[in-house]
């Protein structure tokens, strides 16, 4: 089937939007977090490509344009952050401590699991940037000798898992402060998790957006050092 549509620009766009509509409709019918539209849409797109034999390149010819909009969308995260700037000013110290602790916890937990599981060096460095936005993480992984595509996979799994577990985990730990919730979600599961933070409220969403940028920058400094560990 790939032959006929291999030059189509709108196939990928139509498939992405169509799958998302189905995913959203399913989510409305069956109220379970596992059927989150983002996850169902991903499964639908991958399943469609696998069954129909259409190549990823053909799909991505058009779909990449919606992916490219991630840059202006990230820029727009400054808007809710600006509206909630008083929270940042009032809690600057707590936010810095939280993000620094989170980045350290990421490096140490990946190191511990990698050492226990006997991962090779390139698997370890592939995993290190998993909690930050893929745009930073993939470049960082490549520089440290990791596999960028696998870092992308680790980032997606991290984001999806963070999205699913954020509400119950934070409730279990009695983290109720909106600032702490937002910072925890953004530091652990980047923009994907931030969607959940926005579902919780604008303060959570704004703090999570801030954490994406801040944790990304701190990780850029920390990962090259951590790469020397294993």
């Amino acid at each position: 089937m790939d032959g006929i549509i291999s030059g189509s620009l709108f196939f990928g766009l139509a498939l992405t939007f169509g799958a998302y509509l189905i995913g959203s409709a399913l989510h409305k019918k069956v109220k379970t977090p596992l059927l989150n539209p983002l996850i169902t849409t991903n499964v639908l797109v991958i399943a469609f490509l696998a069954v129909s034999g259409v190549s990823y390149d053909t799909y991505n010819l058009g779909a990449k344009y919606i992916g490219d909009l991630l840059t202006p969308a990230t820029v727009c995260l400054a808007i809710p952050l600006y509206r909630q700037l008083h929270l940042l000013k009032r809690n600057a110290r707590a936010i810095c401590c939280g993000i620094a602790a989170g980045v350290a916890a990421n490096v140490l937990s990946i190191f511990a699991v990698s050492a226990l599981a006997g991962f090779e060096h390139h698997v370890y460095t592939t995993l290190l940037p998993k909690s930050i936005t893929a745009a930073i993480g993939m470049k960082l992984s490549e520089e440290m000798g990791g596999v960028a595509a696998l870092t992308m996979l680790a980032t997606v799994i991290t984001g999806a898992f963070g999205y699913l577990t954020a509400a119950p985990l934070l409730r279990l730990l009695r983290v109720t402060d909106p600032v702490a919730k937002g910072i925890a979600i953004g530091t652990s599961s980047h923009a994907f998790g931030t969607l959940k933070a926005f579902e919780m409220g604008e303060a959570e969403g704004a703090m999570s957006s801030l954490a994406i940028a801040a944790a990304g920058l701190v990780t850029v400094a920390a990962v090259p050092l951590a790469a020397l560990l294993l």
């Binding site: 991505n60 992916g67 991630l70 969308a73 707590a94 401590c97 990421n106 745009a135």
Partner: protein, 120 residues
């Protein structure tokens, strides 16, 4: 015209972000530079909230869709993925929980300690 101006401002700041990304030899994406630039522009009053608010809300609402093309790219690395899948997935899940828990607890602890001192 209203949306045209809003989209222009957002795209222009995205472009400035890309310029930073191209000129500075650090693995920081254009979007993060752009986020900081937009924040500075809003704080300095160069850009007013009503100048970007509607288009901004629309883009943030559309954000979930923007992750799909990239993450569907996993299909390209099927064989590599299957080889390390389980230990890989377990490492990722464990670490994500640890990071979220540590960050949340530390942030909340510092916030509460500070506000506690105020009430004394």
């Amino acid at each position: 015209m209203k949306y045209l101006k809003q989209v222009f401002i957002i795209f222009f700041i995205s472009f400035l972000g890309e310029l930073c990304n191209l000129c500075v030899p650090l693995p920081i994406p254009a979007g993060v530079y752009g986020l900081l630039l937009m924040l500075v522009a809003l704080c300095a009053g160069i850009v007013k909230l009503p100048d970007v608010e509607d288009a901004g809300r629309f883009l943030i609402e559309m954000m979930p869709l923007m992750f799909i093309p990239g993450s569907a790219g996993v299909i390209e690395h099927y064989k590599e993925v299957m080889r390390v899948l389980w230990p890989f997935v377990i490492a990722v899940l464990l670490s994500t929980v640890v990071v979220m828990a540590v960050t949340g607890l530390v942030t909340q602890h510092v916030i509460r300690r500070k506000s506690g001192r105020w009430t004394e």
